[in-house]
Symmetry: C2
Subunit: 361 residues, 2 copies
């Protein structure tokens, strides 16, 4: 069993990403975060029954108390009610400021436990244990936490860096194919916006990734986390270069919100959103059609949706004007500017309309 | 009109405290925080009708839009529901990440607007405009934000430094005497835990303070903010020396929570709590009886309560075990260790019982 460690030097605190097959129960993964205090594992009804028992057995000797809380699964539960449930569980177990929250699950569990950790008693430690590909390559790293608001995804949240990320590739074995594929969208994103050589590697390795070849997975995970870690270290609060990691996300969030949370998986919306954003980049004169085709082809081969749902251009524009990155109602998009390069800029609504004209429905 | 500026060098960001008569509408107070974005003034139904109109007129030329939101007044409204009301108002006014929240009111408004600012779109700027003595000398400085939980005051919150604090002593003129007196508790606290010469000055100036003599008020405000700023700069997240600012607060929170929020004002509970904590310090052998008498005399002269309400010792101990500063259920108190000196330490429950035996009911 090989466990590799990658250091993230975020201004809000440095921490390690531990990756590898079997990392979840490897004692080395937990060294340095054990403490004489309560550990609360926040998980969901899908992942909890599989991994929580062995993990609690592993952790019990290292904490004064190990407890668990199973939340309902799905984006629809990323609400304040769930945060209150976590706070109640912490108080039930007499957790104090030295307690440790452990997020065991996908992005929803990670966002919820992370947000609860950032505001319980004004901030306690959190370990992210992502069990989906999406969470392993993206949401568990970087300290973003959030809950949804009926008027926008992730509208309320904080930046709160975890004290450790433990990404066990073995946990991906039980992941439904649809969710696995959704995670590939974020892997493709890293290549598109930051590393053209990695994008080429993904093109060559996509078939191996789709059958979850262990070696290909570890490589994809490591390179994705390296890219994310280096960008987060430079820009913890998304005021500068980190914004490129939102490639495909403005379109994606509009799709997710417009369809109602949970209809499209986040990664599916981002996959389609990257294709739309690539097309927008071409219409803005920033890239050639071949670069759009590379993205479109990867999205298609991965099995991600290539057409936006029929919501109507006006509805899309309304949703995008309300995006967190919008500025005085002016829509901003992350556009590709070349191979492995991207930037954020304001975009005319006419251009966005033209994109949907081609790719909606 | 004299406006003085005091700089706070918190690790989470440096900012200025602007104090003085007329500071609220003085254009210099707002220099550097104006922006081409939405400003939302969060206020309450008591203060809003008096100050909000002139403030909006003052700010309108400096922002793309100035809006206001009046919340119900009182500790009972420091809830997530109020945070959602603020988020809804921000979205109604198309506020984006560059917006500015302005907390115009007392500690409740400051805590709510501060917490909303810390998590709306993962963090936006906030200006604190405290209009009560308590908020001017304490809660507006230092970046603490919070909402209450039915099982504990300020149980959920964040550290989120304001970008400016504007404390206008003129706004204290309309403050009810009971609230004014409650604010004096925190002024006394600074002398007790950090500056014996200031405590002596308070003893000499208390009569002038009680009739709100402008000169005495400005001096009390300035020295209190200086003490708080220097302590916050050294310890933003209350892991070290900042903890002494909780002198009287563990007893005080127990009184507030035990009586139900809003029955005792925070400052009243802290005033009584300081007397109890001074007595605990004496029982622990840390200070002489004369030092207890100085605190007790100031609390009495200020008109703050000198006896704890009859909740029963068991109920008090239960509440204090759940305090945010407790460690594995062990009660910790800030105790006086000499003139202008204090530290936090674990305290036997028998000692706490002895304090209540003398001072309850």
């Amino acid at each position: 069993m090989t466990v590799s460690r990658l250091r993230v030097d975020a201004p809000g605190g440095a921490y390690e990403i531990v990756t590898g097959a079997g990392a979840l129960l490897d004692p080395r993964s937990w060294q340095g975060v054990e403490r004489d205090a309560v550990a609360l594992i926040v998980t969901n009804t899908t992942v909890g029954p599989i991994y929580c028992g062995p993990l609690m057995d592993r952790l019990r000797p290292s904490f004064s108390k190990v407890a668990m809380l199973e939340l309902a699964d799905g984006e629809a539960h990323k609400t304040w009610t769930s945060i209150e449930t976590i706070v109640d569980a912490l108080l039930d177990h007499h957790a104090d400021r030295h307690c440790l929250l452990i997020a065991l699950g996908g992005g929803v569990v990670g966002d919820l436990a992370g947000f609860a950790a950032s505001c319980f008693m004004r901030g306690v430690d959190c370990v992210q244990v992502p069990t989906t590909l999406l969470a392993q390559v993206d949401s568990s790293v970087g300290g973003k936490t959030a809950i949804n608001h009926r008027r926008g995804k992730n509208m309320v949240g904080t930046f709160h860096q975890p004290v450790r990320v433990i990404a066990d590739t073995d946990t991906l074995r039980t992941l439904p194919q649809r969710e696995f594929v959704a995670g590939l969208a974020e892997v493709i994103k890293y290549g598109a916006v930051a590393d053209d050589a990695f994008l080429t590697w993904i093109e060559q390795s996509l078939d191996a990734l789709l059958v979850r070849d262990a070696e290909a997975l570890t490589e994809a995970l490591t390179r994705s986390c390296q890219i994310k870690a280096s960008i987060v270290a430079a820009d913890e609060r998304e005021s500068g270069p980190r914004v490129v990691l939102n490639f495909g996300h403005t379109f994606g969030h509009a799709i997710e919100t417009g369809m109602g949370y949970g209809q499209w998986l986040h990664g599916e919306a981002v996959g389609c959103g990257m294709l739309l954003a690539a097309e927008a980049s071409r219409l803005a004169g920033l890239i050639e059609v071949q670069q759009v085709r590379r993205i479109a082809e990867l999205v298609r081969r991965a099995g991600l949706p290539t057409r936006a749902p029929s919501l109507g251009i006006e509805r899309y524009l309304e949703l995008m004007r309300g995006d967190k990155k919008a500025r005085n109602g002016e829509i901003r998009l992350v556009l590709l500017t070349g191979p492995g390069q991207a930037r954020s800029q304001p975009v005319e609504e006419a251009l966005i309309s033209a994109v949907f004209h081609e790719h909606e429905g």
